[in-house]
Amino acid sequence: MKRGIGDNGRLALKLAGVTVAMFAFGFAMVPLYDVFCELTGLNGKTGRAEVAQAAAMPVDKSRTVTVEFLASLNQSMNWGFAPAVASATVHPGEMRTVHYRVNNRHDRAVTGQAVPSVAPGEAAAYFRKVECFCFTRQQLGAGEAREMPVRFVVSPDLPAHIHTISLSYTFFDVNRTASAAGARGNS
C-alpha cells in the first residue's frame, strides 16, 4: 500500500517493453517462417543446387521417379503458359532439363514472376533446381513468346515411398505489385 507511484510507473514501463518486443516478434516471424520452411521443406518450397553439386550426386539406377509438370496463371494474367512435356521419368541423382512455353497475349509488355510449389511437401526438400525461370522475373513484350528451361535433380536421398512428384508453377503479374521493395526471392 505504501508503495509510491514510482513502482507502478516502472512496472508499466517494463510491460510496455514486453509489448514492443512482442510487436517486433510479429515481424520477426516473417524471416523465421522462411528459414523454417527452407530447413524443413514445408510449404513446398524447393531446394536449390549448384551445377557441380548436382553433377556430383550418385545416380540411383535402381528406381525411377515420375515428375509431373503443371502450369497455372494468376487470374489477372492473359499469358499462354504450359509445360512442353506433361511429365518426365528420371532416376534420382540424374540431372534433367525440361521446358515451359510462355507467350504474352497482352498488347503491352508484362513482367511476371513464377512461384513454384512441389507436392507432396515431403519431397520438396529433395527436389533441387539447378536452373529455373522462377529465379528471376520474366519480362515479355507485347505478343512475345519464349521457351524457358528448368534444370533439376531429384536427390538420391529421396524417401523410397515417393514415386511421383508434382512440380507446379503459377505466374503472377508483378506490374500489379506496386514496388519491389518488399519482395523476397523465390526459390
Binding site: 507502478n8 508499466a12 509489448t19 510487436f23 516478434f25 510449404n43 503459377t170 503472377f172 518488399g182 523476397r184
Partner: protein, 524 residues
C-alpha cells in the same frame, strides 16, 4: 488542518454532468463505462447476427445480398469479440479487482481513462465502414489474405480500429497487472487472492503477449495493400499461409483471453451459493496458468487443412488435447465445490451452472475438432460455428451475465427482480440451445459456414436455429430492462448481499462509496 479536511471532502464525490464520465479516473466509473459500452455493442452485434439468421431462415436469397451477408458475419464477430466480451471483462476487472485486493483504485488511473476512451473511437471507425464505398469488411474476422485485401475503402478503417482496440486492451492489461502486483492490501498474498483476480492476472499477461502480434499482422496487411510490400503476396515472394500462422498465434491465446475471466467469475459464484469454499484453489491457479501456457503452442489446429506435414499435425493435435486436462481439472473442481453443498439457485447460480454444463459441451466439440482426420471433415462447417458459439455464448456471455447479477446489488445498492432474472436465465438457456445445437447436425452433414444460401435438406434445422436466435435476442431485452430497473431503484441490498458471500468487496457498503479502502483493510 481544517483546510486539508475540506479539500479531502471535495474529492470524495464525482464531478457532475458529462464531465464526470469523460474525465473520470475512478475505477468504478470506468468499470461502469466499460460495461455499458459492452451492453450497447452486444445489442448492435446481436442485430447483425439476426440479419444473418433471418437470411438463413429459408434457403435461397431473401433479404440481403451475399456481400452484405458476409459483412454481417464479419462485423458480428468483430463486435462481439472486441466490443462485447473483452470490454465487459475489463469493466468487471475495473469494478472488482481494486475492491477484491483491498486497493484504493487501479494503479494507473489516467491510463485507465485513456484505455476506455479509445474504444468509442475505435468502434465508431469500425461501424463507419458500413457506409463507405465497397461496404464493410466481408472477408471474415480472421482477415485472411488475399481475400481481405480485396476489401475497399473499409480496410484501412478496419485496421486502424484494430490498432486502437489493441492499444486499449494492452493498456488495460498493463493496468490490471500493476494493480494486482502493487496495490494489494497488506496480508493479501498472491495465493490468497480471489480466483477472479488470478484469472485476470493471467489473462492480462496473455493480452500483452499477443495483441501486439495481431497489430503487427494487420500492419503487414496494410502495407501489402497500400505500400507494395509482399508479406502475404506470393508474386513478391510472400506467402498467404504465413498470415494464418501470425493470426492464430494471436488468435488462440485470444480465445483464452475471452474465457479465463469467465472461469474466475464462476469460481467466485459457486462457493457463495453452495456455501462451501472453492474446492482445490491451488489446483485452480495452476490449471489456469497451464491453459495459458499451452495456448501458445496449439495455434495451427485452426488450419489443419492448409497442408502440414504429419509430424506437425500430430503435435498440434496432441497439444490441443492436452488442454483438456487442466480444463477438466477446473470442471472437476467446480462440480466438487457444489458436491454436498447447501445449494440455492438464485439467478447468478443458475447462470453459473448453465455455464458449466454448456461450456463443457463446447469443450467436447472442441476436442472432436482437435482430431486431425475428423477435422478435415468438420473444417469450415457449421460444426465449428456450433463449437465456438457454445464456448462463447453460454460460456463467456453467460459468465458475464452471472457476474452482473451477482455484483449488481453491490454496485447499485439495489436488489434486482429475482423472478425476472430467472425468466431471463431460462429463456436464454432454452433459446441458446435451440439456436446452436442444430448447427452441430448441419455441420456434420456438411453445411459450410459463411454462405448465405444452403442446400434444401438443411432447411428444418436452420429454421429452428433462426427461431432460437430471435428468441435469444428478445430475451436479452429483458436483461436490459432488469439492469436499468435495478440501477434506478429497488429493494435495498445489504452490505453482504448473499448470505454465503465471502471476500473484501462484501465488507463495503452497498453501493460502495466513490473511494474505497483509503485505509487498507485487515486480511484475516
Amino acid at each position: 488542518m481544517s483546510a486539508v479536511m475540506v479539500d479531502d471532502h471535495h474529492h470524495d464525490g464525482p464531478d457532475s454532468g458529462i464531465k464526470r464520465w469523460i474525465c473520470t479516473t475512478n475505477h468504478k466509473d470506468i468499470g461502469t463505462l466499460y460495461l455499458w459500452f459492452a451492453m450497447i455493442m452486444f445489442f448492435l452485434g446481436g442485430l447483425m447476427a439476426l440479419v444473418v439468421r433471418a437470411e438463413l431462415f429459408q434457403p435461397g436469397l431473401q433479404f440481403v445480398d451475399p456481400q452484405f451477408f458476409n459483412s454481417m458475419t464479419t462485423m458480428h464477430a468483430l463486435l462481439m469479440i472486441f466490443g462485447v466480451v473483452m470490454p465487459a471483462f475489463t469493466g468487471l476487472a475495473n469494478w472488482l479487482i481494486p475492491m477484491m485486493v483491498g486497493g484504493t483504485d487501479m494503479a494507473l488511473p489516467r491510463l485507465n481513462n485513456w484505455s476506455f476512451w479509445l474504444l468509442p473511437f475505435a468502434f465508431t471507425m469500425l461501424l463507419a465502414t458500413l457506409f463507405v464505398p465497397g461496404g464493410a469488411p466481408a472477408g471474415g474476422w480472421t482477415l485472411y489474405p488475399p481475400l481481405t485485401l480485396q476489401t475497399g475503402a473499409a480496410l484501412p478503417l478496419l485496421i486502424f480500429a484494430i490498432h486502437l482496440m489493441g492499444m486499449s486492451s494492452i493498456m488495460g492489461a498493463i493496468n490490471v497487472i500493476a494493480t494486482i502486483l502493487n496495490m494489494r492490501a497488506p496480508g493479501m498474498t498472491l495465493m490468497k487472492m480471489p480466483m477472479f483476480v488470478w484469472t485476470w492476472l493471467i489473462t492480462a499477461y496473455l493480452l500483452i503477449a499477443v495483441m501486439p502480434v495481431l497489430a503487427g499482422g494487420v500492419t503487414m496487411l496494410l502495407t501489402d495493400k497500400y505500400f507494395g510490400t509482399s508479406f502475404f503476396n506470393a508474386a513478391g515472394g510472400g506467402d498467404p499461409v504465413m498470415f494464418q500462422h501470425i493470426f492464430w498465434f494471436f488468435g488462440h491465446p485470444e480465445v483464452y483471453i475471452l474465457i479465463l475471466p469467465s472461469f474466475g467469475v464462476i469460481s467466485m459464484i459457486l462457493p457463495t451459493f453452495a456455501r462451501k469454499p472453492l474446492f482445490g484453489y491451488n489446483s485452480m491457479v495452476y490449471a489456469t496458468a497451464s491453459i495459458a501456457f499451452l495456448s501458445f503452442v496449439v495455434w495451427a489446429h485452426h488450419m489443419f487443412t492448409v497442408g502440414m506435414p504429419l509430424a506437425a499435425q500430430l503435435f498440434f493435435m496432441l497439444s490441443t488435447m492436452l488442454i483438456a486436462v487442466p480444463t477438466g481439472v477446473k470442471v472437476f473442481n467446480w462440480v466438487a465445490t457444489m458436491w454436498r453443498g447447501s445449494m440455492t439457485f438464485e439467478t447468478p447460480m443458475l447462470f453459473a451452472i448453465g455455464f458449466i454444463v454448456l461450456f463443457t459441451i463446447g469443450g467436447f466439440s472442441g476436442l472432436m475438432l482437435a482430431i486431425v482426420p475428423a477435422d478435415y471433415q468438420y473444417h469450415d462447417t457449421y460444426f465449428v460455428v456450433a463449437h465456438f458459439h457454445y464456448v462463447l455464448v453460454p460460456g463467456s456471455i453467460f459468465a458475464i451475465m452471472a457476474a452482473v447479477y451477482y455484483w449488481l446489488p453491490k454496485w447499485t445498492g439495489h436488489l434486482y427482480n429475482e423472478t425476472l432474472g430467472k425468466w431471463h436465465f431460462w429463456l436464454s438457456t432454452i433459446f441458446v440451445n435451440l439456436t446452436f445445437f442444430p448447427m452441430h447436425f448441419t455441420g456434420l452433414a456438411g453445411m459450410p459456414r459463411r454462405i448465405p444460401d444452403y442446400a434444401l435438406q438443411f432447411t428444418d434445422y436452420n429454421m429452428l436455429a433462426s427461431i432460437g436466435a430471435f428468441g435469444f435476442g428478445l430475451a436479452q431485452l429483458l436483461f436490459l430492462y432488469i439492469v436499468v430497473a435495478t440501477v434506478r431503484g429497488g429493494e435495498r441490498a445489504t452490505d453482504r448481499v448473499w448470505d454465503g458471500a465471502d471476500g473484501l468487496e462484501w465488507t463495503l457498503p452497498s453501493p460502495p462509496p466513490y473511494h474505497t479502502f483509503t485505509t487498507p483493510p485487515q486480511i484475516r
